[in-house]
Symmetry: C2
Subunit: 145 residues, 2 copies
């Protein structure tokens, strides 16, 4: 199994609300036209929004009570100020800031929000990792030359 990831599917209770958050709220554009699912092309992979009960049934797992599922997605910014800006935008779009931007013990600056479905995103400035112009994130700081 190669070391890669193709798709992250967020199972949602309310697809219209979730789409409004990512599209009107955060400014993302979806890459498909079907009504029952939304696909967003990200650099290197796809993010999907799909009905939560259908996802659980498709996977053969019980749907469960919700709450923290043990996963956080993260968006690394290109500057410290951008962390504050992205958290504010997520809040204005209907998300909930669960942790305001704070200096971290590992030397970065980060906060967290949940989307309207409760899925957790960290927003972080990490000076030890790089985000290139195409949006790819890599371990290790950018080359200085």
């Amino acid at each position: 199994m190669e070391q890669r990831l193709s798709l992250v599917t967020l199972g949602v209770h309310d697809l219209a609300r979730a789409r409004a958050f990512y599209e009107q709220g955060l400014g993302w554009r979806r890459g498909n036209t079907e009504d029952e699912v939304a696909f967003y092309q990200l650099p290197g992979l796809v993010l999907a929004l799909w009905d939560r009960a259908e996802l659980a049934a498709d996977a053969g797992v019980p749907e469960g009570p919700g709450g923290f599922g043990g996963i956080a997605l993260a968006y690394n910014t290109r500057s410290r100020d951008e962390v504050v800006e992205v958290l504010a935008r997520a809040r204005d779009a209907g998300g909930t800031v669960t942790k305001p931007a704070t200096d971290t013990e590992w030397g970065g600056f980060s906060g967290y929000f949940t989307d309207p479905e409760g899925q957790l995103w960290e927003v972080a400035f990490n000076p030890f990792w790089s985000v290139d112009e195409t949006g790819h994130t890599a371990l290790g700081a950018a080359d200085q030359d």
Copy 2:
């Protein structure tokens, strides 16, 4: 907020067991040396394994009871046969196949497994999307020229 994803963190109860699954079991190689966290460089983003309670505390959310968290990660294969092979490898590595490989109503072929922490992965052959030689997945079939 640009349309991108930097990091997926899986919060784990047992880091050694989770590392053994991804490293010895699936053959992934980690990109850091710290004991308390494991980072895997994927094409375009990073996957991390970190203590689940610490992740919840860091994010300011209650840890919760576990179970299905409403997210599925997916690995798209380059062939139909590879779906069966990857599911078998995940099972041999200590994962649980929650749905064997099956023809899907959307015209693909897929199954699901959970890793030892219960995180859900779909393994899918999707002839309508492409996986390039660097491991990037894109909406739409590969160019034919």
